[in-house]
Assembly symmetry: C2
Homo-oligomer: 111 residues x 2
């Protein structure tokens, strides 16, 4: 029952281009903003993001995020978990998650 962790790039192999390409999409950015805003880094279900797209497309988007090194996907067979790679992302691109979190909380132009 222990899920297999699907492969993503190594922590030091994260590419800024791939990351920006991943975050260029509105749906993927929405996912990342929600993940960045949760400081507990809890594993979440794929359908907990309320994306207004079909499940095939969701599969595609989560794959892109994983291949960009932003998230881990845990495969349980008939279910899937998502977890933010906060440590790796923060080490390679410090401040990026704070940017996303700021957008998530709507605190962009404030103060």
């Amino acid at each position: 029952m222990a899920g297999k962790n699907l492969a993503g790039p190594q922590a030091d192999a994260l590419d800024l281009g791939a990351v920006f390409r991943a975050l260029a999409d509105e749906h993927r950015r929405s996912v990342m903003m929600q993940l960045a805003a949760d400081r507990g880094d809890n594993e979440r279900g794929c359908n907990s993001f309320d994306l207004p797209i079909s499940k095939q497309t969701q599969t595609h988007h989560f794959r892109v995020l994983r291949e960009a090194g932003l998230i881990d996907e845990i495969d349980y067979g008939n279910r899937k978990g998502v977890r933010l790679r906060r440590t790796d992302v923060e080490k390679k691109f410090p401040g990026l998650l704070a940017l996303l979190e700021a957008q998530a909380t709507g605190g962009a132009a404030s103060c």
Copy 2:
């Protein structure tokens, strides 16, 4: 001889989606990394970036950067200047330029 400043979005209207889309392209990211690395924010010529693309395509890329609110373009008629909107970008997306600068200096995985 005084150049006209081509119109871009207001400082508080900068959109993170447009910014990420702009930075998703390798050439535009190269330009932004060079601009971010220059703390003097000097105005630069369009051909000072050594982009391996035709001049029509360069026009396109600089337009995208301007419409994303990342740079100002100063039109001199038969010449054009480029200047980073550091203050506006830093206010709306703090840390973003530092990210680009870190990539420019190759100091990503160091320390």
